[in-house]
Subunit: 199 residues, 2 copies
């Protein structure tokens, strides 16, 4: 049996193309041409018409976007959005649990996302260019449902030299869902930093 797959009309193809690329920005024109069963030229025309830049531009846009948010805290990636930060004292961040973070069946957040949010907040609190997680004790109190906003709050409650004790709690709708104590070590400068940095 032969199925005659009707190709898209121009309008439809362009609409679907736009959607596809916004969902999936890393296709090449060639791949798109195959998918839509048109020539590469047509795809280029379509892209031009839709004002969609080439693959490398798109990639760069995603990377830059990602990079600037990620870089906000001197390279230190904080999972979630940082709402408040007084280094060495307290910090707060927010993370919305989306589709990609939940277990397929239960629709609750995977543990490591919550851990990552809490852990990165703890690290952000340490007043140093670098910090290492020494030890952690934590308790998962409740599962977190898809779509919920998790607010992490952390504070340094003790410090001795380069050793920090940090308490972090995660709340959803003012309900505690995770609580933990971190011990972190700050690491000063890498010793071999003598030469003048150019720019």
């Amino acid at each position: 049996m032969v199925i005659l797959m009707a190709r898209y009309s121009k309008e439809n193809r362009r609409r679907v193309l736009g959607e596809a690329l916004s969902k999936h920005p890393f296709y090449t024109d060639e791949e798109l041409a195959e998918q839509f069963e048109v020539s590469v030229s047509t795809i280029r025309l379509d892209r031009g018409e839709l004002g969609i830049p080439e693959l490398r531009e798109r990639t760069r846009a995603v990377a830059q976007g990602a990079y600037s948010t990620l870089k906000s805290l001197d390279q230190q990636e904080v999972i979630g959005e940082l709402l408040e930060l007084v280094i060495g004292e307290r910090a707060r961040s927010e993370l919305v649990i989306d589709e990609s973070m939940v277990l397929a069946k239960a629709r609750v957040a995977r543990g490591h996302y919550l851990f990552a949010q809490a852990n990165s907040l703890a690290i952000a609190l340490v007043d140093a260019p670098m910090a290492l997680t020494g030890s952690v004790e934590l308790k998962f109190i409740q599962p977190v449902q898809l779509g919920k906003v998790v607010v992490a709050e952390g504070c340094v409650f003790r410090r001795h030299r380069n050793k920090y004790w940090v308490k972090v709690t995660l709340n959803v709708d003012s309900q505690e869902v995770l609580r933990g104590n971190w011990i972190l070590f700050s690491i000063g400068e890498l010793e071999d930093e003598r030469e003048t940095e150019m720019e």
Copy 2:
């Protein structure tokens, strides 16, 4: 006044180059050549030696990472490669620490990757369609360098009804790097789990 800026020695240049690119991955070789006052060829040689890919690769890596920092982590049920699994008894998995898992500066694995490996192994051990992490106590014993192979070993050392006690250790080169105790709950069916999951 003219300051004669001594150019870097090969070793220093490479070290600084590596740092610069991990901080600032969007430089072209040409820009780098200008900054370091060497030729483009030298920069390419250096990059080759350091195993740093070209600009477009780096951009792609950042973009992909941004697109799925934790998504990549998530797709798999078990983080790392499962080597052995006797449900309810013991399990072993292996994870190679790659570029995307390390802190830019220190080149050591981010805590949540190690946590994720251990946590997912613990969950895999529980004999149930679904398990939730109840509480965890864990200790990060040593940082893990880029490129290392982390072997996770877990065993169920106690069980009572739907409550499991699991011990997990992570080793690198036979050195313990993380150790933790999990308490997990297996969940038969969550009440809103009527529909069959496709796939």
